[in-house]
């Protein structure tokens, strides 16, 4: 008898818990902040050196100086080698370091660098850099580290970029549900589009 009673209360408790959880759950589930796998790149590009803060010996270059397409295209893109050379041919101090040597090799052989995709969404997902940059960088006028950091994490402290956010659907949706101010000044808010069709292609 008592055994069974205990059993009953246990089961009932579990049932209720599961139910209430289910009914009230979704938003809580999307707080993942995990680290993606290490990706081996042809050249170990030191992000911290370029984009990092002064105190860490960084040069605080704006992300969109190199990833220049982010503000006008759906993809952020990788700068053409020419761009790297453009600066580095005027920086003799580091000219002989192994990475820069590699870089110049590629350039001299007129070969594109086979960078690996780090933040690689599935093929049926459409993520538009332009829209997000417009909204948060230009309209809301947030600092670029923050804006890019929403999805790309704290790249300015990394050497080779590595995924820091889960980039799962729930994670995206979590932000799309929030109300964001329209621009830096106004109090009006709006949330991201909810249509499946907007992000799924």
């Amino acid at each position: 008898m008592h055994f069974s009673l205990r059993l009953f209360t246990l089961l009932a408790g579990l049932f209720l818990a599961a139910a209430s959880y289910a009914a009230d759950t979704a938003p809580k589930l999307t707080t993942a902040d995990d680290l993606g796998p290490e990706v081996a790149q042809p050249i170990e590009f030191p992000h911290f050196r370029h984009a990092g803060d002064e105190k860490d010996g960084g040069m605080q270059i704006n992300c969109m100086y190199c990833h220049t397409y982010a503000r006008r295209s759906i993809v952020a893109g990788i700068p053409p080698v020419q761009k790297c050379i453009g600066c580095h041919q005027n920086i003799p101090s580091v000219r002989e370091t192994p990475r820069i040597k590699q870089l110049f090799e590629y350039y001299d052989n007129n070969k594109a660098i086979p960078w690996k995709k780090v933040h690689d969404l599935p093929d049926f997902v459409r993520f538009n850099h332009e829209r997000h940059i417009k909204r948060f960088y230009f309209q809301q006028d947030r600092p670029y580290q923050e804006v890019c950091g929403y999805c790309h994490g704290d790249v300015k402290t990394m050497v080779v970029a590595r995924r820091q956010k889960s980039l799962t659907m729930g994670w995206c949706a979590n932000c799309h549900q929030k109300d964001h101010p329209v621009n830096a000044t106004s109090s009006e808010t709006g949330h991201g589009p909810n249509d499946c069709f907007t992000c799924h292609k």
Binding site: M1, S4, L7, L11, A19, A23, D24, A173, D195, C196
Partner: protein
């Protein structure tokens, strides 16, 4: 102490006598159990009424299932990016009612069975005083009593020519 009888008439006589006879150290209400191969309401009459509580479990289960269903479903529809479908409301009543109905039954059945197990005290360890005959064709009468009452009880059993009397000492 377990006594086996051949048919219900005898068993009934025994039971009624046991209950009428007031024996010291033996309380007919708690200490008397009948084991039978088939469901046999008449015997129970002799045992005096013992209420069955399973229905209450049923009620609770059904109601719980129904409510859960409705809110779970409507709630999830509301939280599903508010997707419009076929010009129907985002939280349409008829479909949700269908599902509520199903869950109502589901909850009912599950909790009822749970109730049964609890009320019937199943699963339980088998008492040492048990004979396979009971599951075949004989009726067993199990009594708990002090040593003092034993003799009298045995007497009563014997009087109604029990086929077999098992005894367990101690306690």
């Amino acid at each position: 102490m377990l006594a086996l009888y051949n048919n219900f008439d005898e068993a009934e006589k025994v039971v009624s006598e046991l209950r009428s006879a007031d024996i010291k150290g033996f309380n007919a209400d708690d200490d008397l159990t009948v084991k039978s191969p088939i469901e046999h309401p008449e015997v129970e009459e002799f045992l005096g009424d013992k209420p069955v509580k399973v229905q209450w479990f049923t009620l609770v289960g059904a109601v719980m299932g129904g409510l859960l269903a409705f809110f779970l479903i409507s709630g999830s529809q509301a939280s599903f990016y508010s997707q419009m479908k076929g010009g129907k409301p985002i939280v349409p009543i008829p479909p949700n009612m269908v599902l509520t109905y199903e869950m109502f039954i589901l909850g009912g059945v599950y909790i009822t069975v749970l109730g049964f197990l609890i009320c019937a005290g199943l699963p339980a360890r088998r008492s040492p005083l048990y004979s396979a005959k009971v599951s075949e064709d004989q009726i067993g009468i199990l009594v708990k009593a002090d040593e003092s009452a034993a003799a009298t009880l045995k007497g009563i059993f014997a009087k109604h020519k029990a086929l077999e009397i098992q005894e367990e000492a101690g306690r």
